[in-house]
């Protein structure tokens, strides 16, 4: 394998990713397997790939107002401060949830997703049902995830693309004064970083203090 990084040529991961896609497409076309069966199996471990990094960044932003300001101004650079990179020049924007505005992210065409921060996208992120309903009825989608957003809150739906990927900075939950960053990070779920839910409340997590 060449050590040179040539942007015009596909890398080793692109080549093997293409073979995986190719094999799946062939097997599906031949009727040997359904994509839904593969989706279902990948859902078993998809959470284990989860948003540990996004949770860490979020917890830092909750305790450090200067960091939060930098994160909202330039998410790629702020993540780099914490040693999180790999976005390959793609722009990343973090959207702050407040009492008045709740953000939710969707990729209306495919499944553009800031995976170096959030891990692998959940299967539902690429389902047409999520893509269309998040735009048409975001409150209904949140309700499906068990999240009842007050009617008074404005919802903004953002479209992630290959060039510009969004993720959400959830609100810091009530009752977390004095929590360490590690304790706070445990409250941040992948779903809350996509915006389909809020961060967990401390009551929902077994306290291990």
């Amino acid at each position: 394998m060449s050590l040179e990084h040539d942007h015009s040529a596909p890398g080793k991961d692109d080549l093997i990713a293409a073979r995986v896609k190719a094999l799946e497409a062939i097997l599906v076309e031949k009727g040997l397997i359904g994509s839904d069966a593969i989706d279902y199996m990948s859902s078993v471990y998809e959470n284990e790939v989860g948003p540990q990094l996004g949770a860490k960044v979020t917890a830092r932003a909750w305790v450090d107002a200067d960091f939060k300001a930098r994160l909202l101004a330039d998410a790629t650079a702020a993540c780099k401060e914490l040693g999180i990179g790999g976005m390959q020049g793609e722009e990343m924007i973090v959207l702050e949830n407040t009492d008045e505005v709740h953000n939710i992210v969707v990729c209306t065409l495919c499944s553009c997703y800031p995976w170096p921060v959030l891990g692998l996208p959940p299967n539902w992120y690429k389902y047409p049902a999520y893509r269309s309903r998040a735009v048409r009825d975001p409150r209904g989608v949140m309700a499906e995830f068990g999240f009842e957003l007050p009617e008074s809150v404005e919802i903004r739906v953002w479209d992630s693309s290959a060039e510009l990927r969004y993720w959400v900075l959830p609100e810091r939950p009530e009752g977390t004064d004095g929590f360490t960053e590690e304790q706070l990070a445990a409250l941040v779920t992948r779903d809350s970083l996509i915006g389909v839910t809020a961060a967990l409340s401390p009551d929902a997590v077994t306290a291990e203090v």
Partner: protein, 142 residues
Amino acid sequence: MERISSRPQPETRSRVDSLVDVLPFGDRIPRRSGDVAFDHSWEIRAFSMTVALHEELGFPWEEFQRALIEAIRTWESQQTDLDQWSYYERWMAALEQLARSKGWATRDEVDARAAEILALPANYMHQHAVREPVAVVAGGDR
């Protein structure tokens, strides 16, 4: 899929865990906090495709285990730099081998389709940055 938020059955999880437990070279499976972990989306896709094929088509898991052992040995015999090791690259080689021996897909078929996929730019349908919300639902009392 009826609900966007649907989750896999708990018994599926333990079934898949038990398949992982008997994989060859299990100590080399990438893990985080004890759980099977993936660094790239193609890795989990290759993994789940194999498990789904096993469940749907009912071929014995031992056949995949043998193919994986073979793929790992072949690779190691050809390499001088063993640091380049990737469990899921060997996994994919084993799955392709299994697909050939079962008559599911030939090497030519996979080569040709992969070339087509590579000819398309990544996210070719979705390059442009969208800087405004695509929808806003105003808050307020109703």
